[in-house]
Symmetry: C2
Subunit: 121 residues, 2 copies
């Protein structure tokens, strides 16, 4: 089991490549084989498989081989980790802005002008 930081590293790293994001987009519309994933991409099959390994390691995609075809699907809830991190940043930042708003409203309730220059920035 990987720790939180490493999981986020792998997840964001996996999403940082347009081909890999393309694969995730394709897979969120339904499962696909490796060759199906490869078809729209301008690269060799081994390259696609390597991208796929990155996606699997990140927990975004799960694959399963039956016969000679490997079927790839979205790992449900795989994106949750990234989503959570982003939401935490947003709320921390928004809460801070609220406090700042309170502070400004309290300190200078009437001044929308710079008292030095008399200008509105």
């Amino acid at each position: 089991m990987l720790n939180y930081q490493t999981s986020l590293d792998l997840m964001f790293q996996a999403l940082a490549d347009p081909s890999r994001r393309g694969m995730v987009e394709r897979l969120s519309r339904g499962p696909a084989s490796v060759s199906e994933l490869a078809r729209p991409l301008a690269m060799s099959l081994p390259a696609v498989v390597q991208h796929l390994q990155v996606l699997e390691a990140s927990g975004l995609v799960r694959t399963e081989k039956v016969g000679r075809v490997r079927t790839c699907r979205i790992e449900p809830g795989g994106l949750q980790l990234a989503e959570r991190w982003i939401n935490e940043r947003r709320t921390t930042w928004e809460r801070r802005l609220d406090c700042l708003g309170d502070y400004l409203a309290e300190t200078a309730p009437t001044t929308s002008k710079d008292p030095e220059t008399g200008e509105t920035p």
Copy 2:
């Protein structure tokens, strides 16, 4: 102006490093100078500045130099792009699951579970 794909590349790439995420976390609690950002990190100051350049290029952070100190702050709405992409994937995937649920319910309404006993045969 950068296109959508490149912006996502830069954003996710920027978030894929724990030091940079640490800086973003610090900055979402309020502005900081370069040295303040560097303090908790086990690396040289130039390294921190390089990370900062990645964050600026990604649109997550804005910096401004006054006198000899460069003040760094979160770029409001910088995370929106990543957030939007993730949400789009989630909804696409969830909608698909709904359809699949409909399909299963229609095709085999009685075979997955006995609604009386709750048992799976």
